[in-house]
Every structure is written in C-alpha cells, then in structure tokens.
Symmetry: C2
Subunit: 629 residues, 2 copies
C-alpha cells in the first residue's frame, strides 16, 4: 500500500472511443520506477510498439509528475511527458515545470495517459474526479496564449492550469512543443503528437492534498535539502539572480559556445551582446515554478528601440544559443521576441533555432539559393529573417516554412548535396548549446542518450562546471568517458527525471548528495524504503528499457554518432581550438560505454543485465526482433 506522495490513480483518456478510465497505480511500479520519466517509459514500453508511426493513432501521450510534486519539497514541481517522438522516432521524453504538473496531482492522479485520436478538435477538462472531453473546433487555430485565456473564460475557472498546442502542433511540425503558461514541454516534437490526436489542450484543476507518509522525516529531509541548496554558491546568488543565461559566459570561456552552426566556435565574443551582464539588464521578474525557492526563470522585457520593443519572455540559456550564437545573432531583443513568438506558436526554441542556423549555413554555402528563400538574405546574423521565419515554419507555409518545418534532419535529407555534414543533430534531435568537441563526455551523452542529442539526459557537469564528482575529469580526453557517461545518465534519470526534481540540483548544486537526497525525500514522502543504490538502479533500469524501445524502433550502434563536422573539423578558435572527436575516438568511447552498461558491442542490453535490473521480460522484445529479421 502506497502511504504518501502518490495519489494512487492513473487516468486514461481514449480519444478514439471517448472512454475515460481510472486505474490503480501499483506499488511495484512506484518502487521500481518512482514517477515521471520512469512511469512514462515503463508504460510506453508496455503499451506502445516501437515500430509504430509516432503521428498515428497507436501512439500515446503519458504525462507523469513525481511523488514529490505538489508537496512542499523544493524544486519538485515537474512532470515528464513520454511518447514516441515524431522528430527522432525514438523515445520522446520531455520535462516541464511551472504549475500544470502539480495541478494533476491535486486533481488526484499520478499519471495521465492519452490514447487514440479524436475525429474533431477537442480538449480535455480535468476537474478533480470530473473528467470531460470538450469540443475545441473554435479554439483550433489560436496561439497558446489565446487558447489558455479562452478556455479559462469558457470554463469560468481562472484557476485552471492548461497545457496546449499552438499552430505548430496543429500543423504537425516535428518541432512542435506543448505550452503551459510560460513553460514548455519543448523538445522532440511532442506537440505534433497532440496535434495528430486533434487534442488542442488539457485543462486541470484539483483541490486534493498530496499525502505525506512520514511527516517528521519529510520535514527533516526537506530542511537538509534546503540547507544544502542554500550553501551552494551556484544557486545563490548566481543562479537565482541570473538564471541559465549566465551559462553563455561559462561556455564562452570554455570555447564551446556554438557559433554559426558550429563552423566558427569562439570567433565572436557573444558574452558582450548576450552574456550574463547584458542579459541581467533585461530581467524584470523571477517566475518560479510551484514551490521553488530559487526562481531561476527570469522574465525579460525587450526595452530597446527596435521592432522587438515590448516583447516579453523568459528565454533560457539554450534559447540564447539557438537564436543567438547558432544563428550568428547577438541581439538580445530579437532573442526575447523569438522566444515569445515560439511560445505563442508552440514550437521548440532549440530545434527551430538550430534549424534556422543550419539553413543559414546552407544559404551561405550556396546549398540554399535566393530562389529557395524567395529573396530573403538568409545570412548569419540576420535576426529579422530569423524572427520572421518562425511563423512561416509554424504554419508549414509553402517555401522556407515547409522546408524547415520538420527540423534539421529532414531539411538535410530534403536538400541532400552533402548538407548532412552540417546537420547538427543526433537521431534527429538538434544539438544543445555545448560544442561536444570541447567536452567529450558531454558529447558521448549526445551520441548515446535515448532521446538523441539531449544534454539533459546525462549532463557532464564535470566537464562544464569542473566539479570533481565522482572524480575530476579532463574535458578534452576520452579516457573513462564511457563509464562517466553511463553514471551521469543513470544518476540524472534517477535523481531528476523520475522523482521528478529539477535538473539543476543534480548538475549545478548538489551532485555530491543527489542520490542520498533523492532517497531521503522519496522515502519520507512515500513510506518506501529505497537506498541510494536502489535509486541509482531505477535510473539504470529506465535507461535500459528506453534503449530496448529504441532498438525495437530500429536504432542500432550506427545511430550513436555525430554529424561529420564533429568527427572531422577541429574547433577553429578559442580555448578549445584544435579539438574534435575522431571516428576512432568515438568508437573507443562507445565500446567503453557499452561495456560499462554491460551491453553487447552492438549496443544491445544483455539478458543478464536486464534480469539484474528486474526487467528480464523485455528481452523478449529484442529476441522477437532478431527472429523477424
């Protein structure tokens, strides 16, 4: 019997049959997968075949907060959304914070599973035990701000929390996001899955309280955690005051802040135009997630005298990169405007910015012509073209819009002619804001993460922030990076993606106590009795299940790689000058990584490893695949 943390209920909404069902959450699943990504990937693996069309009726959307969400645990108001990604074809797991995640707990649910496909546009309204599917024809076509306002108006409930898609999701852009207030389930095209189901929005209002199993222990664990956070020089004042954009200065110093689609890293000094100091000057308010004492999210107002004046948004570091260095732009106001437009249109700032930067390089290389761009001078640094393109893309408009609408990989496949070399993605997921050539474990994580080039699935803070945990590492060498990447991935999954706590705790603030802290917090809230090692194993378990899903989706060792630029072009300037990751080095790291994971050299989990993790049953999926081949 689950004694706390969990509400004990799984809500299942089938849009094809219009049936709504409430199921019990089993204690075993809670113990083995904790919540969030763990729940999502477990249910995805059990219920969705790997080889289905991500935009077909068979795909599912699995929303899951964690056991701490909705309690007074700090930094735990997050939720994982798991689905098969239309952008990558692999597991698409995307996390978001804000207030929507905890509201699902308040309504009484640990998991929301959406399946099937509605014939006509609808939205789901969850009000505690009352769940209805409502018509959304009239909302279809609206941006995400208007959608949220209109649904609140229609429901006469200003306190409902809403996650919704914008035009990008409706138009099935593989970069479409799902937006709630100023937060996004941003990556992996999850918005297109909602769009494919004709699901415009999910509104949630709840009045229940999340029970705490052991109140005294919980308060003690909470105090310990808050004290550790307070002692962290990274969180206060730095992160609380500046938010993630301060990382522009960190990676610029490391020579790995990407510039112009990775062709000139280090040449331009972006710290001047869009670095921490310039960024801080635009801050006007902190907008913390539910229950967060840090409040890293900094709302920024464009106050310059430009066409962007008055734009308001809270771009994170990755958006500073995708609409900044990646496109050769160092105009802060245009980044704020682009971020706001992306949120309104419901499109991922990272993927779309990287794709535009890629198109800019194709334009400068002559692989895209003035005829292709319909006269737009799509050179690096053209922030007006960048901002104007967003609407074209979100609406999949004829010309550049349609060409860029499905992201970097499909753009390179459409263009061909050697463009693949400059297509900065792994498995279709666009690169994050760290040049892997100057941070090799960070890079190996891009190559091996189950979601594609995803910094958040195994962030190598050892290389980026120089933290010697579990021990010091040289960011330029490849030694030990296989084992390190496995450790980073499993720990991240176990302490962040499943519980569901904020990633910054693991990466920046408390990496040394992350596993212990997670165990203390989860045990006290739930009454479970997990050791730090049990917690770690959950991370490993989830990474293995995800890997098996991807194998059944058709991925092989060949896909655990980089675009050719990373493998052949050394960084040209700056403190990481001369570094790259040769194919040989990549292979060495991969071998070591698979070995550390006890996988075969083809990157396939062994039956022994799966059984050790208590998930031997999924080995059947790999076996049946071998048979069918």
């Amino acid at each position: 019997m689950l004694k706390g943390g969990y509400m004990g209920k799984v809500l299942r909404v089938n849009l094809s049959t219009q049936k709504i069902r409430v199921e019990d959450l089993s204690e075993e699943i809670a113990k083995d997968f904790l919540g969030g990504a763990g729940f999502g990937i477990k249910y995805l693996s059990d219920e969705v075949p790997g080889n289905i069309d991500p935009l077909g009726e068979e795909n599912k959307l699995i929303f899951a907060p964690g056991p701490l969400s909705g309690t007074s645990a700090p930094c735990a108001s997050r939720m994982a959304l798991t689905t098969k990604s239309p952008l990558t074809g692999a597991v698409g797991m995307s996390l978001s914070g804000g207030h929507f995640p905890v509201e699902l707990k308040f309504a009484g649910y640990d998991i929301l599973i959406i399946e099937g496909k509605s014939e006509k546009p609808v939205y789901i309204n969850i009000n505690d035990d009352k769940v209805t599917i409502r018509k959304a024809e009239k909302i279809w076509g609206m941006d995400t701000v208007d959608t949220q306002l209109l649904i609140k108006h229609e429901l006469k409930e200003q306190n409902t929390r809403i996650a919704c898609i914008g035009p990008a999701g409706e138009n099935l852009s593989k970069m479409a996001s799902i937006i709630n207030e100023r937060r996004a389930f941003g990556r992996k095209g999850v918005g297109a899955v909602m769009g494919s189901k004709n699901l415009k929005a999910i509104a949630v209002r709840g009045t229940k309280v999340v029970p705490i199993a052991k109140k005294d222990e919980f308060n003690k664990a909470r105090s310990t955690m808050l004290a550790a956070m307070k002692a962290s020089p990274v969180l206060y004042p730095e992160f609380s005051k500046l938010g993630t954009p301060m990382v522009v200065d960190v990676t610029s110093a490391l020579g790995i802040f990407p510039s112009e689609n990775y062709r000139t890293t280090g040449e331009k000094d972006y710290t001047k135009g869009i670095g921490a100091e310039a960024s801080e000057a635009t801050n006007i308010a902190s907008e913390p997630c539910y229950g967060c004492p840090v409040g890293c999210s900094q709302l920024k107002l464009a106050r310059g005298n430009s066409k962007y004046t008055g734009a308001l948004s809270d771009p994170e570091y990755e958006t500073f990169y995708s609409f900044g260095g990646q496109t050769g732009v160092d105009n802060l106001d245009s980044i704020i405007a682009a971020d706001q437009i992306c949120d309104r249109l419901g499109i991922d700032t990272m993927s779309v910015g990287v794709t535009i930067g890629f198109a800019m390089e194709l334009f400068e290389n002559g692989l895209l012509t003035l005829e292709d761009t319909k006269g737009i001078d799509l050179k690096f640094g053209n922030h007006e073209a960048m901002v104007d393109l967003l609407k074209e893309i979100a609406y999949r408009r004829e010309g550049l819009g349609a060409l860029l609408c499905d992201g970097t990989k499909i753009l390179s496949e459409t263009i061909g002619r050697g463009s693949e070399k400059y297509a900065m993605h792994v498995k279709g997921l666009e690169f994050p804001a760290y040049d892997p050539r100057g941070a090799k474990a960070h890079g190996l994580n891009y190559a091996t993460s189950y979601t594609g080039a995803d910094h958040n699935r195994g962030y190598a803070f050892q290389e980026i922030f120089g933290m010697p945990i579990p021990k010091p590492y040289d960011r330029f060498t490849i030694e030990g990076k296989g084992a390190l990447t496995k450790w980073n991935q499993d720990t991240r999954c176990a302490t962040t993606d499943c519980p569901t706590m904020c990633g910054f705790l693991m990466d920046m603030a408390l990496p040394d106590i992350a596993l212990e802290n997670t165990a203390n917090m989860v045990n006290s809230v739930s009454g479970l009795n997990l050791t730090p090692d049990d917690i770690f194993k959950i991370g490993e378990r989830v990474n293995n299940i995800a890997k098996v899903f991807n194998i059944t989706a058709g991925f092989t060792r060949e896909d655990d790689t980089f675009p050719e630029r990373i493998l052949t072009e050394p960084i040209k300037e700056g403190t990481a000058k001369g570094h790259y990751i040769s194919s040989e080095d990549l292979n060495t790291m991969l071998d070591e990584y698979y070995e550390a994971r006890s996988w075969t050299l083809e990157g396939i989990p062994t039956i022994e490893k799966l059984e050790e993790l208590g998930i031997g049953y999924i080995h059947e999926k790999i076996k049946s695949l071998e048979v069918s081949e």
Copy 2:
C-alpha cells in the same frame, strides 16, 4: 438612506500623497446623477478646473459603474470613466463593459477617484477593503496582455480583474486607451491620463454582494425588460449572432459607410469583403459582458493564409470602419490583427484608424511625401502599412509614429497646408463610422456632443435604423433636428451613460420604453422613487454640467462644427449622393438645438435652465469666466 444598488462608498486614491480615503456617497448625488457618467461629470465639474492641462497632476480619473451594475439586471455591467480629455481638451467620458466594472461594486465602491501623480510607475490593488499602491517599474513597458497576466501572477490571484495601459498610454499618445481583458475605455485618450500619472494598472477583486432594495419589484422589472429584449427582432437573432459588424451592411445601404477618409463614400462595396456575411464567417465565440444575455461581442479568428493568420480579437463595427472603409481596406484578417495589436498596445482603434486614413489621403494628395513616410507607400488600401504603423504610433517613434501619435487634429495642425479640410474630427475627436452628410441629426450630435464627434452621446437611431421614435424623421432634412438631437443626447445619457446600461438597448432594441424601463430598474434596485421624467432630467442635467465644463475649458459655438469637407463636398456616390451639410444648414440646426436646450445663441446655458435642473450653482463658473475676460 440608500437602500440598494449603491454600495455607498467612494474610494479616493491620491498618487501624489499616496493617501487612500473612503468617503460616503450622498443620496442626493445618487438621486440627481444616478451613476456612471452622471457621477463622473458631477465630480469632475466640482473638483477639476476646466482650464487645466489634461496630462498634469490636477486632472483626475473618475471610474463609476451604475446602481444596476453587479446585480442580475441584464446589460448593466458597464462603467464610465470621466476625466479631462487630452485629445479634445473637453470632458473625456468613456464607457467600458466586461467584468472589471462590476468587480469594483463587489469590492464595495460606487466610484473610484484617482488623483495626483506618482513619481514612479505604480499600480493600484483593490481587494475589498484592502487598497494598496504597488510598484510597477518592472511592468512598465509591457503590453496589456502581459501586464494583466503578470499582475495576476504577482498577486497570486487569478480572479482579479485588471484595467491597464499599454505602451501607447505610457508614451502619452492622445489616442491611448485603457484595456481590461478584451474591453477598452477606448476613446478620448484616457490612457494617456493614466500614463501621465505613472499609473500602469488597477487591479480589483471583490467579494461583496450588491443589495437590492425591493426584490419583488426588481424581479418584475427585470422580467419585463428581458421579455422586451426577447421580443426585439434586432437583438435576437441578429445582434446576438452577428454583433455590431452587421451595421456595415446597414450603413452601406444608406450610403453613409465612410470610405477613404470620406472622400469616396459609396464607391466601393465593402459589404462583400467585410460585411455581415464575411464577418460572421470569422466568428468563433461570443464573449458577453457580465450578466448579458445577448453577447453581441463576437470573437473572431483570422484563418486566412496571410501574415495575420492566427490573430484573434473582437473588432466592433467602428473598428471595421476605422481599419476598413476609412483606410480603403477590405481585408478582414488585417482588421482582426489591427484590432488585436491596438488592444495589446492600448490604443483606440477608432482614432488611430481614422488618423491613418487621414495620413493616407495626405499621402495621395502629396501633403505627405515618400520622404515623410520613409519610403512607405501609404496609399489607401495598403493594409500592411496600416498594421505596421500601429507600433510606430504607440511608441511615438521618430517619423510617422510621432507624427500620427496624437491623432487627426494635431496631425493636421502639424502638416498645415490646407490639410485641415480633410481632418475628420470635431473638437479633436475623430469621426465615428457614419457619414453625417447622409444622417443630419446624427451629424448635429457630432457637432454638439460634449465629448466631440461621438456617435454614442446622441445616436440618431431614427435616421440609421428608421425607428419612428419619438416620431419619424427624414435623414436628409434638417427640420426638427435640433430638438431631436437634444432629445437623443439627454435620453441616451439618462438611460445608458448614467444607469450604466448598454447603449444598444436604447438605440436598437427598446428606445420606446427606455426611460420607463430605466426608472423601473433603478427604483426597484435602489429604493429611489424616480419618474421617467426625472430620469430624462438627469440626462439633461448631466449634459448641461458637461457643457459648462467645456465652456470653462475654452470651447465656444465656433467649435460646434464640422471639417470643411462635410460643409462643402457633397457625397459623390450611392444612396446619399449629392448630400452635404452647408454652413447655413449647420447654423440653422445649431440655433434650433441651442433653443431646444434653452441656451443662448452662443451655446451658453442660461441661469434659468440651470436652476430648473437644480444646478444653478454652476452658473458661477460661467460668470467668473465672463469677469476674467
């Protein structure tokens, strides 16, 4: 003792001294002025000298709903805002609906008076009896949508109702509006007065109930009113389904839908592109004001494949004119987009559209050159230029933005060179959407209304909708139009602006019972005992006080006039072809109007008339003026 309808309290907030005071509302003022515009003009007249700078510290903002607001009376959820207008220099009275007005009643107040000027940006937060002045530095610069979202977030109160200014008000545009949700205190530049006081917003949340003095009588009066409304063929289904944009068809048939700054009325058939049928196709939802069973406000979504796709707003008929015929535009999506942008920037759609149309004629006449427009081809019909100009204007940007920022009158004064002939305004207030040359009482109201060319202060429904109340009138003749205009102005003021009920009841639905209905509703809710004639007298009283204020502000008979085009150019085409209002005809109508009002031929209220209305004391103001001259 007031027994119902009124909350009995006046809230006074002084932004210079930061003092907040609550005063009693006197029964006498309630009885003599009812509420809304009556309260506003009474307090303005008593407390604000006519000759002050409207953007100076001495001006006040007086918000007043009516006795029926917040009760279950239909169509009474409105509020008047009275101030000295920076656009006209006359009484600036602007009405708005939605939910903000009733919330002030729920908080316990009949009137909110804002005086003085804050040193730094602030907003006022009213939460029942708790009223605070809060810092707004960080919100300054935001558009009205973001402002409302941010204040709700900051106050942790999603149910608060907020009226605020956007960049236009901050930049003291004399066309600036005040926005609450999708509603505007639109006209007369009231937003600039808020801006001049460094007041960004007013947030109101109330939990009180508006008392009803005589419940049985109130229910009976309410049933009678609802039955009359239901029987009206204009309200149902027409108005409820189509909203005000249907009037495009009405005035087009009358040949008085203005086209291209009134130079070619009737030439183009706007009913095709932006008429009732085309307009209805864009409707997606009705957004009624509080307690309104009609719901004329129709939310429209731009679904065409254009740069405006996804724009969402609820433009009224007047906006169809100002961004439609007036500018020669018949593109519906651009009107929806322009309306939404105006709401976000906080600028009056009517004044700004008319001013842009005026600039277009100046451009076509060569009075504005390509150099002036910085290369913009500002010809009639250029909807892209029209939409793009809005931001330039709201931010008072160098060039066209600054030139157009303060409206038609100031633009014509700046340009000179004979442009005044085409400057379509009276007393600085831009023309509404009815060419007065084909509706002469409607026109006489433009010339004489205390707010300038304001259709809503004395709407001649006899001419526009052909209603024979109090008797039939020929719209082309001038006979009897002086007396009719007085009757329309006083009745409108008495049954709409003071009680505060929706103007459509008077003009379109229930003009025959308007006075009686108002008396029944007001008496039953308040316990007062007013006859229909008492009600009418309130309208006359308020119009007289307003006139005296304007006289002290410097207005004379010379200002009760039209731009030269109306006086000399006959309408060129259509069913009103050949008609105009000669100076002689205007003078005849004016004489008759002043006579009907018992004013001198200079348009000055006599002591006898003022004493008859119980406001003899204000004659002192005129006398002291004569002395000082």
